[in-house]
């Protein structure tokens, strides 16, 4: 009851509310474990903090493994300095678009949490021309409104800060919220696990909520979980740029147009073909997105883990990525899960990525 019957809209609202900038996912890991546990046969946490949710296959052992990866972390900030007056300076974890920050409300994840605002100077007090200059993050500050002594006591340097913007429903059931990157991907994992319970694949499927995708050159959780699991196939689920005015055709995929299937160096042709055939077989709309070199997703690191993994990327169309109003259409999330479940259930027990030629 309850969560077992939640709509995707409800899942998105729930998952985007959970904190966890890169490196601080552990604050919400128990909740992710609980959520995956509703549908998985087994849930584990590895030593990096990745959450592994298993669906046991029906094929003969040893069964090949398919890894589904959606990163748990989100972009945010860490407190870097407390200044006289109790104002806080922050550094960014992952790339928040600094143009979108002045005037925004945030939550400081102190104990107990405190709310704050990215301070702005009202037009009355600005010098001429000031409004034409983008304020770099290092010049922005957080103001809790509380006395300096309270701030110093409660907010140590290193405290996590997140944008504070509850999800907003738009027309066509679209939902705007910070953290759609990549909690909408986590929602795809939840929905896929749910579908696979009814429709067991021959393979073992491990849906992994990965840590630390956003914070640097290496997708840490993807790399380590793939090394540990040694999957045959790895599919990263992440947001893709949804269509927006001012972008060129080919740079984005349509919102409400179903999953985007990425094509490029990170993508194994057989997995791409398998996903595309599955979509066609069930008449599911999809678009093809071109990511010629690195896809900017967990797939980059899954691909080179272990002895090499046949990888693909499934994208959820999302507008205004890395702002507080990332817009996703829930039905695209559902379609990603439907496609994954169909594809995974159709995997032949004996298929291997390594071709033995002689």
């Amino acid at each position: 009851m309850g969560q077992l019957e939640w709509s995707t809209d409800e899942w998105l609202r729930h998952l985007t509310a959970l904190p966890g900038v890169a490196g601080y996912e552990h604050v919400s890991v128990p909740e992710f474990e609980k959520v995956f546990g509703l549908f998985a046969d087994k849930v584990e946490r590895d030593k990096m903090g990745n959450v592994l949710a298993w669906i046991h296959g029906t094929g003969p052992e040893p069964r090949p493994r398919a890894l589904l990866a959606a990163h748990l972390d989100r972009i945010g900030f860490l407190v870097s300095r407390v200044e006289p007056g109790g104002y806080l300076r922050v550094v960014s974890v992952g790339g928040f678009d600094q143009r979108t920050l002045p005037g925004k409300e945030v939550v400081i994840h102190s104990k107990p949490p405190m709310n704050a605002i990215f301070g702005t100077k009202p037009p009355h007090l600005q010098k001429k021309g000031e409004a034409e200059r983008v304020i770099p993050l290092e010049d922005l500050y957080l103001d809790t409104g509380q006395p300096e002594s309270v701030v110093r006591r409660r907010v140590p340097v290193g405290t996590m800060v997140m944008l504070r913007q509850p999800p907003v429903g738009l027309l066509k059931s679209r939902l705007a919220s910070p953290g759609m990157d990549n909690r909408s991907g986590v929602a795809v994992l939840v929905r896929t696990l749910q579908a696979l319970r009814e429709r067991r694949p021959a393979w073992d499927v491990i849906a992994v909520g990965t840590v630390e995708e956003e914070d640097g050159q290496i997708c840490v959780g993807a790399r380590t979980s793939a090394e540990g699991l040694k999957p045959e196939i790895g599919i990263a689920i992440d947001v893709s740029h949804g269509d927006m005015p001012g972008t060129r055709e080919g740079d984005t995929v349509p919102l409400g147009g179903g999953p985007s299937l990425c094509m490029g160096a990170n993508i194994h042709a057989a997995v791409f073909d398998g996903l595309r055939s599955a979509a066609r077989a069930i008449g599911l709309p999809f678009s093809v997105e071109v990511t010629p070199a690195n896809s900017g997703t967990d797939a980059m690191d899954i691909q080179i883990a272990s002895l090499g993994v046949a990888t693909a990327v499934l994208g959820i169309p999302c507008r205004y990525m890395h702002t507080g109003v990332e817009v996703v259409e829930p039905r695209d999330v559902d379609r990603c899960a439907t496609l994954l479940a169909h594809y995974l259930a159709s995997l032949e027990p004996e298929w291997r990525a390594t071709e033995v030629l002689k």
Partner: protein
């Protein structure tokens, strides 16, 4: 609570915080003040002797010590706060369903990207999106997008879809909710809903001199409502109640840090619209000293209020401005210290008592 007890002792009315909350959460960009006015009407109608809405939409309430007959010799005081807030108006709907909009009042274009807005009266929400950094050149990342190039996304995929939810001409307000943390209150439009709530609190008691309380329209687009209202009221003097900009920010010089949130009522000496009446300033300062109410001076030379308009109306009206210093006005979320509006209520109330005795 302490402030409230002090108020009880002093005979001044209590600042009604629930009014501030309701007024702040209501939407009323200039020219569309009706929702705010309706709340004020229900808050004050039982306590005032007369209540009118003039042709521009100003709300005018009269209340005097004897319940209708002015006491001989006591000056007729106009107390004034503006109902409107800065916001936006939907100006066009594009084929693909996005909305174009323009500013109503002074708003820094840099606070719009990634923000959520309420549109019209039917609860529609829209977001101002930003092209993701991934798709921009470094050059564009360091450029402020002009408002003319921004749009509101309400989720519509076509003009028809959009027009089912909103209309051209709909007013747009920040989607912000009033909150408390310690002494701090957070909300939108404290400029000037805090003045509106101070004024609504002041008329909960019968004042010591004849008062005409006016909640004006269109202050943010050129103090327009006050022009008509001042002529109608023709007061002997006027006190304008405002939410003004605090100067506080990290690294600013001590002079620029004034006034401060929590520093007590802010008194204006001079701004871009007004030289405040010296006798009134003196009376306010003396009253504050006698009543031990902390006060501070507004930094001269910045901003402007209805007071400028009222001071020049008719044959001239001595005018002063008493404000609550708020951080981050004209932005989605502002702060104030809840002790300040209570102190403004007390200061103005006791100033009215002094006026009864001392005004020439």
């Amino acid at each position: 609570m302490q402030a409230a007890r002090a108020a009880k002792r002093s005979g001044a009315p209590r600042f009604e915080e629930h009014l501030l909350e309701a007024f702040s959460n209501a939407d009323g960009p200039s020219g569309w003040e009706a929702p705010v006015r309706a709340l004020i009407v229900s808050a004050v109608r039982d306590n005032v002797d007369s209540l009118e809405v003039d042709a521009m939409g100003n709300l005018v309430a009269r209340i005097d010590p004897s319940g209708g007959r002015s006491r001989r010799g006591a000056p007729h005081v106009m107390l004034c706060a503006h109902m409107d807030e800065v916001g936006f108006m939907v100006t066009a709907v594009e084929k693909d369903g996005r909305l174009r909009f323009r500013r109503v009042g002074g708003i820094d274009p840099r606070i719009l990207l990634g923000q959520v807005f309420r549109i019209g009266q039917n609860g529609a929400r829209g977001v101002v999106g930003a092209l993701p950094a991934h798709l921009l050149t470094n050059n564009d990342m360091n450029k402020v997008t002009p408002i003319e190039e921004l749009f509101l996304d309400i989720g519509a995929a076509s003009r028809d879809e959009a027009l089912q939810a909103i209309s051209i001409g709909d007013l747009v307000a920040f989607d912000t909710t009033y909150e408390s943390a310690g002494r701090v209150r957070k909300g939108k439009a404290f400029d000037d809903r805090v003045g509106c709530a101070v004024l609504a609190s002041l008329v909960q008691k019968r004042p010591p001199v004849p008062v005409t309380a006016v909640w004006t329209v269109q202050e943010e687009i050129g103090t327009r409502g006050a022009a008509a209202a001042a002529r109608r009221v023709a007061p002997d003097l006027a006190i304008i109640l405002e939410g003004t900009a605090s100067g506080e920010s990290p690294g600013a010089s001590p002079e620029e840090q004034q006034p401060r949130m929590g520093g007590g009522p802010t008194i204006t000496i001079q701004d871009r619209s007004l030289m405040a009446d010296a006798r009134l300033i003196d009376l306010l300062a003396k009253t504050a000293k006698r009543r031990k109410i902390p006060t501070q001076w507004k930094r001269p030379g910045v901003g402007g209020t209805d007071a400028g308009r009222i001071a020049l109306s008719g044959a001239g009206v001595p005018a002063a401005v008493v404000s609550v210093a708020c951080r981050y006005i004209h932005a989605p979320a502002a702060y104030l210290d809840i002790r300040d509006p209570q102190r403004v209520v007390e200061l103005v109330w006791h100033a009215l008592e002094s006026l009864r005795k001392e005004w020439p």
